[in-house]
């Protein structure tokens, strides 16, 4: 494994903590965009050599996760005239603590899963699990619909990290399909977020509580 991978995974984990603790939505979106770019770089490093297939996947990840989707989220944010507030249900300190707990548990759990010889000692699995858990936390503890989309994006990033272990096994079609689905999914969510802000003149998911038993 390339020695530059682990430091990059540390950046991914730092972004996780940052997005749990930051209060300005715009900076959270930028941080997640950075995470997307790091993932693109990771694709190349994991492959070890420059070839067309990983280069395309890396470019796809950087363009979609690092540029297009963050730009769409920022546009949705501007359209809805949100200033900056993240407005969590759970305070920043408790969610940071939960994030730390999740990361610790991921490290523990990853140790119970046997790794292939070529991946021995890699941080890939715990980093992936921790990122998925962070995405879950953001998704469930934030009030604004757009924040929930950011959470979903982080969750997908975590899964993408795990996918890196499988670059050999995953045919190109599937990789592209996954990226494309993510893009279309976020796109549709973006449209809905827009409808929410137009219908309720705010993006609070709190407005979405008419349906219950």
């Amino acid at each position: 494994m390339d020695p530059r991978i682990d430091p990059l995974l540390v950046i991914v984990l730092l972004v996780n903590f940052f997005s749990l603790g930051a209060s300005r939505l715009r900076t959270v979106i930028s941080a997640v965009a950075l995470q997307g770019v790091v993932l693109g770089v990771l694709v190349v490093l994991v492959h070890g050599e420059i070839a067309i297939r990983p280069a395309l996947l890396a470019a796809g990840a950087i363009v979609l996760k690092g540029l297009v989707i963050p730009a769409m989220l920022e546009k949705a944010m501007r359209d809805a005239a949100i200033k900056r507030e993240v407005e969590p249900y759970v305070g920043f300190i408790p969610s940071l603590l939960l994030g730390a707990l999740g990361t610790g548990l991921s490290l523990l759990f990853a140790r119970t899963l046997p790794l292939a010889p070529e991946h021995a000692g890699s941080m890939m699995v715990p980093a992936s699990l921790a990122t998925v858990l962070t995405g879950f936390l953001v998704l469930t503890t934030r009030r604004k619909a757009i924040n929930q989309v950011v959470g979903y994006l982080i969750l997908e990033n975590g899964i993408f990290i795990f996918g890196l272990l499988l670059v050999e096994a995953m045919p190109f079609l599937v990789e592209v399909g996954v990226l494309l689905d993510l893009f279309v999914g976020i796109f549709v969510m973006g449209i809905i977020v827009n409808h929410i802000s137009r219908t309720f003149s705010s993006m609070d998911a709190d407005n979405l509580t008419a349906l219950k038993d």
Partner: protein, 477 residues
């Protein structure tokens, strides 16, 4: 040939998008239903081997599910033009296009024998059905669509995670990397057990969310409650069965890998929890469309209980897949008619439907008796089969709880259904001029007739197919 089942609906979807007239466009939906059914019959008749390097295969289980989905879609599509002409005030371009993409994506889910391709197909069904749920474009349907999309997307994201785990377990075992189901089932005994178990948990939660098993069912009452009845029928009878099939494919891998007991225990417990949740929320449920959603949660629970018990139960489950889908078709389409007539879906404002809409309300009542397991309808037979297998396997506690929940749900649903159908028509009954007509009643009537046939006499080829499917699921030759 098999690929045509996916591509033809997609081509027709493009055609529906291109057609300028909102009056002509809805007729493309039944046309697609007929073409799709004809294609399926042709596939059965002339046979069709694996395509695209083994990525696209029609196995016995796929034949059963795809056959059912094709039939359900065919009759539901007859209902579409009538419904959309009632709703002429709403643009239908996106609706018709999504209906067709949805069909193609469902067929692809059933046909794909490649883990990644199937995942993409399931994600596509979610994206294609979101605009269908949002058809009414009001705040309530917006909320329902948001929850559906968000919870559904998280669910399938977890399923992808689980699929990666399975792929990694193959990599760890040093096997030739493959994502084809047939290879994975064959080589399952060599797969790393911890990865396989972790994968199944993620896949179960992921595709279980898509099926709407409790406690991942929270999107379901909202989505089914706000979506048009037509969409509800397709989701409850079609999409949930596709998700069930996806779950079965992974169950087969885990079962072959020696984790069968673990998976079956999870299924029985989750199935009983689903039935219990449905029983709690169905009682005193005033919204008859949400009531149907909880009934769907219940029946998804019944499906996986059958698999969890094994043996005869697997056969019962596959039979129930058909019976539940047929009956849900009756219930959602007639509930849609009643909703149209009263412009309300709560029992506070809706009563006397038997007088206001004699045909729809009668079908709705009959559908209620069928879905709650009253003879002589199909669900009675399949539920009895599952109950029988539970007792046969000595699972008395499971059998007792199963019966208890069925009884509670019968009483709970009955109260709501009778409140809707009986009595004098409420003031709300004159809210619209909607009347029963041939085009809005023929589809549910056909479904009810088929559910009745299934209860009296299961056609021989169909029974053989179910037996073959059950053997396939359990990995018997």
């Amino acid at each position: 040939m098999l690929l045509a089942l996916v591509l033809v609906p997609l081509i027709l979807a493009a055609a529906a998008w291109a057609v300028p007239s909102g009056r002509v466009r809805p007729w493309i939906v039944p046309a697609a239903g007929v073409v799709n059914a004809a294609l399926f019959v042709a596939v059965l008749r002339f046979g069709s081997g694996p395509e695209a390097g083994g990525w696209i295969v029609l196995d016995p289980l796929g034949k059963l599910v795809l056959g059912f989905v094709t039939m359900l879609y065919l009759f539901c599509s007859f209902y579409a033009p009538g419904y959309l002409s009632e709703r002429a005030e709403r643009p239908n371009r996106l609706f018709c296009t999504s209906m067709l993409v949805f069909l193609g994506a469902m067929s692809l889910v059933v046909l794909s024998h490649h883990m990644g391709l199937m995942w993409v197909a399931i994600e596509t069904t979610t994206l294609a059905s979101a605009p269908l749920i949002y058809f009414n474009h009001n705040p309530r349907s917006l909320e329902a669509t948001w929850k559906y999309l968000l919870i559904g997307s998280v669910g399938i994201a977890l399923a992808l995670f689980g699929s990666f785990f399975i792929a990694y377990s193959a990599l760890h075992a040093g096997l030739q990397s493959t994502l084809l189901f047939d290879d994975l089932v064959r080589e399952a005994p060599l797969l790393s057990r911890p990865w396989l178990h972790a994968a199944f948990v993620l896949l179960f939660v992921g595709y279980g969310t898509k099926m709407g098993l409790a406690p991942m069912h929270t999107w379901k009452p909202d989505a089914y409650g706000e979506a048009p009845g037509l969409v509800g029928a397709l989701l409850a009878g079609g999409l949930t069965n596709c998700a069930f099939l996806a779950l079965l494919r992974f169950y087969m891998i885990v079962n072959a890998g020696g984790g069968g007991a673990f998976a079956r225990r999870m299924m029985v417990v989750t199935g009983l929890v689903s039935m219990a949740v449905a029983a709690v929320f169905v009682v005193r449920q005033k919204d008859y469309k949400r009531m149907l959603a909880y009934s769907s949660v219940e029946h998804m629970g019944i499906l996986i209980i059958g698999i969890g018990i094994g043996g005869l139960g697997v056969f019962g489950s596959l039979m129930h897949l058909v019976n539940n889908g047929l009956t849900k078709g009756v219930l959602f389409l007639t509930a849609g008619n009643i909703h149209r007539a009263y412009a309300s879906k709560v029992t506070d404002h809706v009563s006397g439907a038997l007088r206001r809409l004699p045909v729809s309300a009668a079908l709705f009542m009959a559908g209620f008796f069928a879905i709650t397991g009253s003879p002589p309808f199909g669900p009675f037979l399949s539920e009895l089969t599952i109950l029988n297998s539970a007792i046969g396997e000595g699972r008395y506690a499971v059998a007792a709880l199963f019966l208890l929940f069925l009884a509670v749900i019968f009483v709970g649903m009955g109260a709501t259904v009778f409140a809707v159908c009986q009595g004098n028509p409420s003031e709300q009954a004159s809210a619209t001029t909607f009347r029963d007509s041939f085009k809005t009643c023929i589809a549910p009537a056909i479904f009810l007739a088929l559910a009745l046939v299934m209860g009296i006499w299961v056609p021989r080829p169909l029974a053989d197919l179910m037996r073959a499917g059950a053997a396939y699921v359990e990995g018997r030759p």
